[in-house]
Amino acid sequence: MPRIHPSSLPFLGAGMGYRRAIAPFYRRHRPSFFEVMPEHLAFASPEAARSVQQDVAGTPVVTHSVSLNVGAAAGADMAWARRMAAWGRRLNASWATDHLCYIGAPGQAIGQLTPLAYTEELLEVVTRNVRAIQAALGVPFLLENISQYFAYPGAMGEPEFLHGLTSGTGCGILLDVTNVRNNAANLGWDAKRYLDAIPLESVVQMHIAGSERIGGKLLDTHGAPIHRESWRLARQVVASSRVRALLIERDQTFGPLPQLARELEQARTIMEAAR
């Protein structure tokens, strides 16, 4: 399976995750693209779903899900993949994304992005899962690195797993630089070494967000200002990849909005260097 070529995909610039609570903010500050969660549409009332579609009309869209269960050893959620594909078509999404993790085993919903034990056996399973998802989606598919709060001793490293997965499936990477920072702080990873080791040539999109220290760990809350270390990592990735999009994730504590506007400007400036 050939590796993904980010240059063959549209350049989307600096965007934001669509959250209906700040729709007026979007109208004023005009992100270059939106990331829409199919879950927000599939489980909303028809009026709400239509409203989202109206709000994002005329702006490029990518879809971002949390429900595919991509890393499940028992198999990904293909029924959800088909629903996600349908929403992607309705939104004319440039690509689709989910997370490199699992969210439950048969009969055991976790409701949380849970880290994978990176083994050769699991690499084979996830490769099969991703290929099936790609076939269902019909658009390029990217996988995001998650924030992790524990690690499996003796497992292969995430960069090695990502190399195997991107070369085996041609999927792209949605690199969350804040998750890189969180994992460095929580698990003692070396962020620079991590970025040097992953297949940067497969990075299509980046996420950046604020995290908060809760109970001694950096939690990926998407509810705080973006830390300067995350911005630094984003610039580093832009300088050494062909990344097409940088997205600010903000899910709660939206105010003060002028600060959010400044963060969007900062993301725009970074992506100008990538054009």
Partner: protein, 238 residues
């Protein structure tokens, strides 16, 4: 079951089930073997940092509480952390569907020893969430008045308490009152113990058979229709 599947199932148990977490902490290797793990899988599971796993488990409980607060705010305001924890122990894994999870929690409230109002509130709030979901799934139009309809207050009607009710009869068996503001003014509804059934029937379009009684002479159908409006008003996003 493959080793990868066994490891994921065991880790899911550690993240969600306090009993499993305790068993693992007491004997990590024995716990791993009981989940069918051997070799590298066993070493991975037994080598996890206990504090890190406990942290994730604690965060999951916080997340589940927050989700229930979103759908059952009045109920959760009356539920202590210890009571919520009892629920999580009884049901370690959440339903993937948040509305179903709220319905299960409401059912648990009926059996648990709780604040006298919590069981009724849970039933009512869960029914409202179910109504909202049903409406969204059916693709029906929002009732025209929905935006203006708000449930102002949910409380027990204790006026009849002591008359005809056995002494010691739990207050949570009393009827529940809902004050609903509509464009026509504030209206008052008395919800019997069958309020959840009423709401579900309303969802299915069987309002005429619903058993709620308005405090005046309004029929069950009228009360159910108003409840539906209230549900739409409460749950309408944005």
């Amino acid at each position: 079951m493959s080793q990868a599947q066994a490891l994921q199932a065991a880790v899911a148990a550690l993240c969600m089930d306090e009993g499993a977490l305790d068993a693992w902490a007491a004997d990590p290797a024995g716990f791993a073997r009981r989940w069918g793990l051997a070799g590298p899988g066993l070493r991975m599971l037994s080598g996890l940092h206990a504090q890190d796993v406990a942290y994730v488990a604690a965060q999951r409980r916080i997340d589940r509480s927050s989700q229930l607060c979103g759908l059952l705010p009045e109920t959760m305001a009356r539920i202590s952390a210890a009571q919520a924890r009892s629920y999580f122990k009884a049901h370690p894994y959440p339903r993937a569907d948040a509305v179903q999870e709220a319905a299960r929690f409401a059912k648990w409230c009926q059996r648990a020893v709780l604040d006298c109002m919590a069981p009724d509130l849970a039933r009512l709030e869960s029914a409202l969430a179910t109504l909202g979901r049903g409406r969204a799934r059916r693709g029906g139009r929002r009732p025209g008045l929905a935006r203006a309809v708000v449930v102002l207050e949910l409380r027990h009607d204790v006026s009849g308490y002591g008359r005809g009710a056995r002494k010691g009869h739990a207050l949570h068996r009393a009827t529940c009152l809902a004050l609903v503001r509509t464009p026509a003014g504030v209206e008052r509804y008395r919800l019997t113990g069958a309020d959840r059934e009423l709401a579900l029937r309303a969802r299915d379009g069987q309002e005429a058979q619903a058993g709620a009684r308005h405090s005046g002479k309004v029929t069950g159908a009228h009360a159910a229709a108003r409840l539906r409006l209230a549900a739409a008003g409460i749950l309408a996003p944005g």
